[in-house]
Symmetry: C2
Subunit: 362 residues, 2 copies
């Protein structure tokens, strides 16, 4: 399923074959939590060179629900995206919706953020849900812990995550859905090692590094991600969850990680923040009101070739939803283009030069 | 500038040559009040077969302002739309922002709805503004009156509108900008006749019917529009301002009117209301949650070919801005397609059949 095509230092250039298509890695996944990438159509995503999108089990489970997605013929047809889809398991919501859930050895019960109704998530149920909706990559139900956390909390999260991963691996599988496990352990290198070792023994087709970007410093995150990546089998894809800034992505590729997701580019875009080859900019900055240049002169996306900063600033100031749409599009395009360039750099063994330039520009 | 190609009853098939392109009539203009058609890019508008968009002098004057638009090289370049643009004069805001303006014989002073600053609009100033930003069609400053109104109010509005139209006609003209006058007079047929006669004497290249859709019943509007259209020269284009429902558009084409604008399709689209060949529907209707059919099975737009009602309902319920975007697109496409079909019906002298079908479907 995964082929490692080239390496430059620890940076990897790979190819992941999934039921709905091939994903060239390193790769960034835009996030469509509720079966929609905010403001963007599947046609936009394709045009912006998106290879795979992420959606979320917890959110889809609550709305529109399994039967609605099955009635549509699966998630791909429901949202009109025919490329690969990875779905997260709901394990992140164990962290992000801490006040709305109770955890036990057998699973998690969520009280819906929409209407308070109770929903029971078990390892098997979550795998079954993701298979039924047709995910290309399903994630096991895990326990994501807010940082800082005690050793006991992290140890318990690792224990449950392994137990649940084992149950997930034993659940019925479908060819079209590859099941990835998620390494936990917080910033504790011993626990990361334990978690990785236990999950690697279960022989999943891919591994995610979870439990980061949840309260720790950037340096702590880099160190934990690099340490964990080293613990994972070279021949399998590695996915760092929830990372989407230029600096973080470059650091993670440099640590040998292949796949990433984050709401960062679309959330920034909606709020007027653009990622550029000269760092990030806030379109509400007064200087842009009369700036006839594009967002990013080095970008060839339709936002940058079609509109000036002055026009985009006008749209945001006028609360025209075209503003959020055009900046979201640019940011997704920008990260996809950066990944394409990263792949080329690794292939040509110029990764160190690329990394240095990307860092200096960010 | 305007060629009458065919007639069927009073319905007219025409061609309007403007600085930025040809407009085949009957024609509907989507509204981009602040230099942006809500949720839609110029590429979307083209794809949806839009020929000309409308923008608004009052709003552009306040934000981004003349110097910003001039710095961009004009309104077309500012908003990245290279087709024709018609700009309204601010006369409608005499009605819609009644509490924020004072009127005198020489013009109108608005207190900005954005920051309270004072802005003086005169007939000459408004023409100059529209010429400088590069409008293909500029509208004269007029006095639009809320209905019901007294005979005295209407008479005064007609008097000022004629005076200002005369001053506008005497102002310096530019080849690229055609100046249209606006007939007022409310529901008073005598005043409509006076207004039309006085403005026709001034020999403008086109005429609008203003002061309707401002509080009167639909039947009163139809009667006044038809009566006024009859008063206008056959060889010049006729524009009914602020009309955008299927029934109203069909009635107005039937009365011999050529051009229309309304926020209706985009406002409806943002709020979950879709125009279809089976009448309008509200996507929040519970029945659509599990409806796998397209919005309008008889529509070939990318919203109808790409998404189910169930998905669109999901987007609206999830507050995904993709919902407003996809419905706005469909509604604009729908009206443009209806206009294209109306043109074909007039050419083939099947207008009565077309009119009957459109009415029965609406």
């Amino acid at each position: 399923m995964f082929t490692l095509l080239a390496k430059d230092g620890e940076a990897r250039r790979g190819r992941l074959r999934l039921a709905h298509g091939v994903v060239e890695t390193p790769c960034f996944m835009p996030v469509g939590t509720t079966a929609a990438v905010k403001a963007l159509t599947p046609a936009d995503l394709r045009e912006a060179q998106t290879q795979i999108v992420l959606s979320n089990t917890y959110h889809l489970w609550l709305r529109p629900g399994l039967s609605a997605i099955e009635a549509a013929g699966g998630l791909h047809r429901f949202m009109s995206w025919d490329g690969p889809i990875l779905t997260d398991s709901g394990g992140f919501q164990v962290f992000s919706l801490e006040s709305r859930r109770t955890l036990d050895d057998d699973g998690v019960t969520f009280s819906s953020h929409l209407d308070g109704s109770k929903h029971r998530f078990t390892p098997e149920g979550v795998v079954d849900f993701q298979q039924r909706i047709g995910s290309d990559v399903a994630m096991v139900l895990d326990v994501c812990v807010k940082l800082p956390a005690t050793r006991e909390q992290l140890e318990e999260a690792v224990r449950l995550t392994t137990t649940w991963a084992s149950r997930s691996a034993e659940a019925p599988q479908r060819d079209q859905t590859a099941l990835f496990a998620i390494v936990q352990g917080g910033l504790d290198s011993g626990l990361r090692e334990r978690s990785a070792r236990e999950l690697v023994e279960l022989d999943f087709p891919g591994y995610a590094i979870g439990g980061l970007s949840v309260g720790e410093t950037r340096e702590e995150m880099y160190a934990a991600a690099r340490h964990t990546a080293d613990l994972l089998p070279a021949e399998k894809p590695r996915y760092l969850m929830g990372v989407g800034t230029v600096r973080d992505l470059i650091a993670a590729i440099d640590a040998g990680i292949d796949i990433f997701d984050s709401v960062y580019p679309t959330r920034c875009g909606r709020n007027g923040r653009a990622m550029t080859h000269n760092g990030e900019l806030n379109i509400f900055n007064a200087a842009f009101v009369n700036d006839q240049t594009p967002l990013d002169a080095a970008c060839d996306c339709s936002t940058c070739t079609g509109y000036s900063r002055a026009y985009l600033a006008h749209c945001f100031r006028s609360k025209e939803m075209l503003g959020p749409r055009l900046l979201s599009y640019h940011n997704v395009y920008f990260l996809n283009a950066m990944m394409r360039d990263a792949r080329a750099a690794i292939e040509s063994r110029t990764w160190v030069i690329f990394r240095g330039r990307a860092w200096s520009e960010s």
